[in-house]
Symmetry: C2
Subunit: 212 residues, 2 copies
DNA sequence: CGTTTTAGTCAACACTTGTTCACTGAAAAG
DNA sequence: CTTTTCAGTGAACAAGTGTTGACTAAAACG
């Protein structure tokens, strides 16, 4: 990569980071301005246009990045969990919460903008969430009791799980930095919820085809 | 009520409605301005201060109103459902979707601002959601298979249900006005999810006290 | 080397923003 | 009937906004 291109990518990074930092402390991407971002990035407002056509485009780039990173995290977690053989809900949730805390900005961004962002960003995040669901679904397939479940049902379960842990992330991020008793309660509740979901899932196959 | 007070409440309404309308079409409360609201309400910017100290205060008033209305809706739904004797998931979900569509603005506001709004609004919505969860939990208690469940567990289940139908509302609201096949799929998926949750819930009691 | 390309700068634009203050005119109070 | 109260007005403010176009200096190119 040429020196010039290299430097360009550097300020592009600065812009993305600046936008992330500004949205991180509970502000909402749709309420940060172009000028704020460039100020935070230490660059003049007009420089922005050398990298993005408008704020929406920056937003999409952020979704891409964050989605990519979160998928990576999920994959690592998957490898760690694979050794366990079973689902090991409690330790998975603990690990997840750790990831949420160490990747504060990313989780905060995706969880907030999923429903609260500008339309185009919201759509992009929704797409990203579908990827998560897809990956989780194929993971669940490896879990023996669910091996023969129809794909649609597996997807529906993965969906439920993803939403559950998303709300957990949102709640965790509202808490102060330190690990409190409240965090412990949130974790316990989520563990119970997931356990209940998998309890239902095991029953599900025998319930298949029921209609009324 | 005096004539003057009556008129005051009228423009207060206009302000609240204006704010609602502006946030309704996917904008996010934190991105609407005081002047936009007064313009939409057909009143001069400074008149705003006769009713609210700042935008946050308006936001809180909105949360109050919307929360109140949604609780009313929930109660009506509860009465309708009480006759059925069992939970009747499918028809409940259909009824719910109908309510979502006929109260577009309210649902859109609460679902979006729950995670995406300004901190003080977010908190207020969270509180409101806790009320929903509480009411649902005591409803579930009337459902025989769950009658003897510890309150904490019932709460955890109610939480799961509320979050599930919240995401359903969010997805429904992204769809065009007309009833599409996509809507049918969303409903089907949610029905399955709820059915699975209650399947797990029935098992849950026998699983009580399990630890590891 | 000289020429071209281009990331970032600078000044300026037309607007929008939240908030102030003194004001008006009609309803309420005496 | 006179006086007081006060919801809504209108003008003005300092500050912030997105976007324009011409300019600079350094890297890339031939």
């Amino acid at each position: 990569m040429s020196v010039r291109e290299e430097r360009k990518q550097l300020t592009r990074r600065a812009l993305l980071d600046a936008a992330m930092d500004l949205t991180a402390d509970g502000r909402g991407f749709s309420s940060v301005s172009l000028r704020e971002i460039t100020r935070e990035a230490g660059v003049v407002p007009t420089a922005f246009y050398r990298h993005f056509r408008n704020l929406d485009e920056l937003g999409l780039a952020l979704v891409d990045e964050v989605g990519h990173r979160l998928r990576q995290i999920m994959r690592e977690a998957r490898i760690t969990a694979a050794g366990a053989g079973d689902i090991a809900i409690r330790s998975s949730v603990r690990g997840y919460v750790h990831y949420v805390r160490t990747n504060r900005r990313s989780f905060s961004f995706i969880v907030r903008e999923r429903l609260g962002g500008p339309p185009v960003v919201r759509d992009a995040v929704a797409r990203e969430v579908r990827y998560f669901v897809g990956e989780l679904a194929s993971d669940l397939r490896l879990f023996k009791p669910l091996a023969n479940m129809p794909s649609a049902d597996l997807d529906m379960i993965a969906h439920l799980v993803v939403h559950t842990v998303f709300y957990l992330a949102a709640d965790i991020l509202e808490l102060p930095e330190a690990k409190t008793q409240q965090e412990e309660e949130l974790i316990l509740r989520t563990v119970k919820q997931l356990r209940l979901i998998f309890l239902g899932a095991r029953q599900w196959k025998s319930d298949r085809g029921n209609v009324h």
